[in-house]
Amino acid sequence: MLRGVRDSLVVVVPLTAAAALLPFAYSNELLLFNFIVFLVLAQGVNVIYGFTGYLPFGYVGFFGTGAYGFSLAVIHLHLFPLVALGLGAAAAVLLALLLTPLFRLSGAYFAIASFAAAFAVYEVVSNPHLDAITKGPYGISLSQIYNPQLSYGVAVVILAVTLGVTVYLKNSRFGLSLRSIRDDSLSAAMAGVNVVRARTLAWLISALIAGLIGGVFAWYVSVFYPETVFGAEFSVFAIVFALFGGVATVSGPVLGVIFLYGIYNVIGISAPQYFQLIYGLLIMGLVLFLPGGVVPLLRRWGIDVP
């Protein structure tokens, strides 16, 4: 548990403090907010991919479900945002429960099936026949509860909690059993690990994280369309950021987001016409030359990173 305290001091505390204080120094708060969103999503991917080896290519499904769960709770039930946030997260967890049979699939099949599941949820939400419930393709407007300061603050709290979860997973027995499942589920079962339960738990935690930040995203942006919160780029970015830094670590996804999302924004502002091209090539280079991510590389160089 000592390592847990150290990891918290090195990663969780400074990052949370930075997220909370930077708006006072830097005026593009939305950029900071998006950093928080991707930090949380990358850690959410880390929980499920890093610790169990299942790649959730449709991770955005939970994000979008959280956003819509939150919005519909506000619109139809007139709930306070913080309560609605709980409902959005609950909706994401419920979706995750529905999708647990996907764990019967392995490798790329799981990834593709989860991708398809996210698309399916999007198609349902944006169907014009459900206009009365979901506003169909016409989009959500939450101007009545718009509150950028408070929602930013809540996002910072979610970031802190998410980072705490990864620190816990990295240093706890539960995290150890998850990593054993990832390495060899059969051996893990023989070691007495309840594979199904541990994996499901990780999946639900991961969905909960995405659902929470999805809800806050909806609250913060307040006007959006189904394609806004179900955009495949959320999944893809979160996965690429997590992989770049190195999964099953605390700092890997953080480094990935800060470095890659930083570059993304720098390129986006300086050389937009080559934005997508550079990004695509960067992803390819990452897979070909640095498949394990940055953190294992640093560790090999003798730099001890959490």
Binding site: L176, R182, S187, A189, M190, G192, V193
Partner: protein
């Protein structure tokens, strides 16, 4: 069969397992008592490993019954069996490659029958893995990985340990040490079910053998009796190195 004084720890009755028509196990029955080492021998494909897989929950049997301490355990998932005290090693060792050697054993110690990890270090020391405790398991050689497999199984505190071809590929001296260890486990009250091709090893460690052929038991008794049995000799002739 002579009546036993002690109640059996494991009883397998009329076990059946089919793979798309092929009968891998066809009415296999035997018993193992605490502290006993039972050898399971037979030519390739006779159903030895399948038998272990069914006992340890990897496969569901298609018929028959497995009882452990008088309670039926067939169909229970592996982790439940591990917590009851049924464990195994794998023919090809299956450590957790990205975990350190100590973590490999720790997982089992945390989740097995015994709570707490007090014995992890003792176990590593006794299986000569202590020097590698902080290395990832992927760095071990195959003999060391076998020992790690064994260490992981032992860390769960098993009462029945199925050992699947532990000896294959080990050197003469390693073999002797392993045999000594297995006897020591039995001495501490653990029942062992040993699948092995090396008859010398079998002869050294087992009290009794069950000979399988094509999913059926063709002989049960001591190894010395077995090699005098006509059917056993027929099955093995030319295919296996006899003693």
């Amino acid at each position: 069969m002579s009546p036993e004084k002690e109640a059996p720890l494991l009883a397998v009755e009329a076990l059946e397992k089919r793979f798309s028509g092929f009968r891998a196990l066809d009415g296999v029955s035997f018993e193992v008592r605490p502290g006993e080492i039972l050898g399971l021998v037979g030519p390739n494909g006779s159903g030895k490993t399948t038998c272990i897989n069914v006992i340890t929950g990897l496969y569901r049997p298609d018929g028959g019954k497995v009882t452990f301490e008088g309670h039926p355990i067939n169909g229970l998932p592996s982790h439940r069996l591990a917590r009851l005290g049924v464990n195994r090693t794998f023919q090809v060792p299956r450590p957790f490659p990205s975990l350190t050697v100590r973590e490999n054993v720790a997982v089992a110690a945390y989740h097995g029958r015994r709570a707490g990890g007090a014995e992890i270090e003792t176990l590593l020391l006794s299986l000569e893995l202590d020097a590698y405790a902080d290395k990832p398991a992927a760095d071990l050689n195959s003999a060391q990985q076998k020992m790690l497999d064994l260490a992981r199984a032992l860390a769960t505190g098993p009462r029945l340990l199925c050992v699947d071809e532990l000896a294959a590929g080990l050197s003469r001296t390693e073999l002797e040490r392993v045999a000594l260890r297995l006897r020591a486990f039995a001495g501490s009250g653990i029942a062992l079910l040993v699948v092995e091709h090396l008859m010398g090893f079998i002869g050294e460690v087992t009290d009794r053998v069950v000979v399988l052929n094509a999913g059926k038991i063709i002989f049960e008794g001591t190894l010395a009796e077995a090699i005098r049995d006509r059917r056993v000799v027929e099955v093995f002739l030319g295919t296996e190195h006899a003693v």
